[in-house]
Amino acid sequence: MKGYRKYFVNKLLWLLVTTFFAFILNFILPRLMPGDPVAAITARIAQGMSNSTGMKEFYQQYADLFGTNKPILEQFFLYIKNVVHGNFGTSFSQYPRPVLDIIKSSVVWTVCLQFPAIIFGWIIGNTLGALAAYTKKGFDKVLMPISIFVSNIPAFGMAVILLVIFGVNLKWFPTSGGYGFDLIPTLSWRFIWSVIVHYQLPFWSIVATAIGGQAIGMRSMSIYELNADYVKYSRFMGIKDRKIVGYVFRNAMLPQVTGLALSVGTMVGGALVAEIIFSYPGLGYTLLNGIMGQDYPLISAVTLIITMMVLLANFIIEIVYGLIDPRIKAAQSD
């Protein structure tokens, strides 16, 4: 367990360092954008106003409010201080709404949509990949080209195709939103059902794009493992093939767990697009709005939250991986 603690501390340290850098990037990049957001706000407020001294007053007021007239370093420390206190500032585009408020309402949707979908896609992909590796013949010959092709349909393409087939043509599922257009969120079965129904298309479009890549990876890993010495040995010890396949899957799947950790970031990107296409009220959509409204605090916060989510997911997955794979523990205690 000592070795594992070291592993844990190591990963935790890395998490903190990465978070810090992500923090800096998140702060700087949106601020490199062209245009002056404060000017944009004041301009909007002052639409139809024809005296320019009033405008200057407005501008000054808002510049003070958002701190955009302070030195960038000071802004940065202010930003850190605020974020530590859970305050992401005030949104520019939805002024005077606090960013935290905007994010709070969308982050849960994203978490509930993306993580189950990504994990589910991962599980299905791995199962299919393992089956393909094991059965070889027909299944493999049919399944592999299909998985490769499906995994190459871009995330938005998959989303659009599902939308057209199941939403527009078959009308099985609604095409946008997180719950029924005629519902007010409450804890009622009707609402929950509506949420589940609205959940389907974005969920499956994320799952469908996640499957292919995972299946291909798992197939390779499984073939590699099937050739391992322990397989031969186990066979010669009279153990049933099915049981051996169990060993192989487990062992092949373990490296796939790290694969999952590393690809969560990539998948979240695709999932954001899926959210946008299905107008799912998650972070992807919020981010898009932030970008269009040139809303630094919002963009910073959304990208930070997404990055944090990915980092945290990575961290959790790696910690779990360390727990379930004895090889890691052994490697650490050396």
Partner: protein
């Protein structure tokens, strides 16, 4: 293997449970609808009973108005992004707050709302008097008084709100003569008359009356700080209109009817508006909105639905627009391409006019607007909306020679050749004083119909040897650049912006914004004339028109202005666009305003929320 399957199964189940468990949890963290509805008098039904769903046959659904989440309910703020409740403009939105008068864009007249009877100018044209309807009362039961009107104005001025700043050059004071009589004093010119009576009048139909008691509460709360006052969320605001906030989140806005609304008094509508709820689902984009409209989840669509006719011709849906055929809606705004007068060569009328003549407007109208605009052969270009009222304001024959319908490559080439602007060096592009004519045409990114239109403009340039390329900055950048003179040296040679819609000051207001030099070359200019055009004759006419009362005199003045405009071509209209798109789905509600629907005065196609179109809400019936 069995163990594996069980493992998988358990994962599925867990995923399902997580899914089911976390969604409602999401909501409890975001909004507490029941708590917030209790601000005003309790709703007839217990909110919990209907909270789960809005009864379809009591709810009128909109789309195309609200984009993004609602920020606040504060009528002093212009930043609330609250399209269902707040819009103080020519056709003010009167669902929650009310103006003294309602403008009807169809007949150009105003009708009293909070006011009782018509307003009256005094003899010297210095002040307006009107009375407040005795029946009008606030949502807290107190009557609406002249003092409220006066205090609203005083507050606008005191805190320099947008509405105060926009009007204080024309309105001097607003006073309460007695509890029900309001006196609006205009700013007077040297001649002792109101300098702009049109704008003074317009205030009455475009600005809300806000309760004095609540305003004082707000002032106390914000401690006299202007920014704080305008940034207040105002969840507790007192209103006089028929609807108020029921529920909002990132995906929808719902307003509920106030069954104590004063308008059911016989002196006003005599009844309550029909739908109990007005709901607006927030769609991500037009595509999502169209889908919802198709699915019958939207009753009134205010967004641009491309190829709208397909909805009934191909999909056989019970959907219709105000007009039966193209352009389907009443054009009431002129999206316009402005020339940057400071750009090289664009100071030449010939260049400006040649480009404008070469543009293929039919393609713009059919491709960008999918024919939802009258063509320039149907309504020849001028400064007027294609409504009969405005069209009648100028002498068509007098300007016929100056008008162009587009695609006139030959004419444009001729014009340029005559002006000596030719391609001397043979590289395919014309030069002016030895320099190639190269322009960048710009409009905001993502404004699809404008972008499509700008593409056609660029194509036209190429036809006549002027190199026009396109550029689409983000709106946030675009607006900052366009509203601040000087424009950048490159990138903004031809820029597309809107023009005024329909309203009580039109077409005068539109013409002023298009060509008056008072806006030319200014910063923070949200009014118009972004290209920096100036013409003394036009300025003089614009200044004179508000005080003219003789019809013939007016017609002459307007004809003169159109002539100047078509001769100088400081900008050119690319299409006609309706004040608001108005497409309705009659699967639940019917009796929406349509051309020739027999209403008197006719209800304009403005979503049943703006100006006189609110009257349409009282006519709705359910489909049998």
């Amino acid at each position: 293997m069995r163990k594996n399957i069980l493992f998988l199964l358990s994962i599925f189940i867990i995923a399902g449970v997580v899914l089911a468990a976390c969604q409602p949890a999401a909501e409890t963290t975001t909004e507490e609808p029941t708590a917030e509805t209790a601000v005003e008098e309790p709703v007839a039904e217990n909110p919990a009973d209907i909270a789960a769903s809005l009864p379809r046959d009591e709810t009128l659904y909109f789309n195309g108005q609200q984009w993004g989440s609602v920020v606040c309910w504060n009528p002093y703020s212009s930043n609330c992004n609250n399209a269902m409740a707040l819009a103080q403009q020519d056709n003010a939105r009167v669902t929650m707050f009310e103006t003294p008068y309602l403008y009807n864009m169809l007949d150009g007249k105003v009708y009293p709302l909070l006011a009782d009877g018509d307003f009256a100018w005094d003899a010297g044209m210095t002040a307006i008097t009107f009375k407040i309807n005795a029946a009008a009362h606030w949502s807290d039961g107190t009557p609406v008084t002249a003092e409220d009107v006066a205090y609203t104005w005083a507050t606008h001025v005191k805190y320099n709100t947008q509405f105060g700043a926009a009007n204080k050059d024309y309105i001097d004071t607003i006073e309460a003569v007695d509890a029900s009589t309001v006196l609006v004093k205009a700013v007077l010119g040297d001649d002792g008359k109101a300098i702009n009576p049109l704008l003074v009048q317009a205030y009455l139909s475009s600005n809300y009356v806000i309760q004095k008691a609540w305003t004082e509460k707000l002032e106390a709360r914000t401690d006299g700080d202007a920014a704080a006052l305008m940034a207040d969320v105002a969840e507790d605001v007192v209103f006089s209109g028929p609807y108020y906030k029921f529920f909002t989140d990132d995906t929808k806005v719902v307003m509920v009817r106030d069954d104590n609304y004063w308008g059911q008094d016989t002196s006003m509508f005599g009844k309550l508006p029909v739908p109990t709820y007005l709901a607006h689902v927030i769609y991500k984009d037009n595509a999502a909105g169209t889908t919802a409209l198709q699915a019958g989840e939207v009753d009134v669509s205010q967004q641009f639905n491309s190829n709208v006719q397909d909805l009934w011709l191909k999909d056989n849906l019970p959907i219709s627009t105000y007009l039966a055929d193209a352009p389907y809606n009443i054009g009431a705004s002129l999206p316009t391409a402005y020339y940057n007068m400071a750009s090289y060569g664009l100071d030449q009328v010939a260049v400006r006019k040649a480009i404008a003549m070469a543009v293929d407007y039919n393609t713009i109208i059919s491709n960008a607007m999918t024919n939802q605009s009258a063509t320039f052969t149907q309504v020849p270009r001028s400064l007027m909306n294609p409504t009969p009222g405005e069209q009648a304001l100028f002498d068509h024959d007098a300007v016929a020679d100056l008008q162009w319908a587009g695609s006139d490559i030959e004419g444009a080439n001729q014009l340029l050749d005559d002006a000596g602007i030719v391609d001397a060096d043979g590289d395919g592009w014309r030069e002016y004083n030895g320099q190639n004519l190269h322009y960048i045409a710009t409009c905001p990114n993502g404004w699809s119909d404008w972008q499509a239109a700008i593409e056609v403009v660029a194509a036209a340039g190429k036809e006549i040897g002027i190199d026009i390329t396109t550029n689409y900055p983000e709106w946030s950048v675009y607006q900052t650049v366009v509203t601040n003179w000087p424009l950048p040296e490159t990138g903004y040679d031809i820029l597309m912006m809107w023009s005024d819609g329909a309203g009580p000051t039109q077409p005068w207001g539109r013409i002023r914004h298009l060509i008056s030099s008072e806006f030319a070359q200014t910063t923070n200019n949200w009014n118009g004339n972004w290209g920096g055009y100036s013409n003394a004759d036009a300025d003089a006419l614009i200044q004179a028109i508000p005080t003219m009362s003789d019809a013939a005199e007016l017609k002459a003045a307007y004809t003169e202005l159109v002539t100047i405009y078509l001769t100088d071509v400081p900008s050119f209209t690319l299409m006609y666009r309706p004040q608001s798109f108005h497409t309705v789905n009659e699967s639940v509600w019917t009796n929406f305003p349509h051309e020739g629907d027999g209403t008197n005065p006719a209800v304009p196609p403005l979503d049943l929320t703006d100006g006189w179109s609110i009257a349409g809400l009282y006519n709705l019936t359910l489909v049998k």
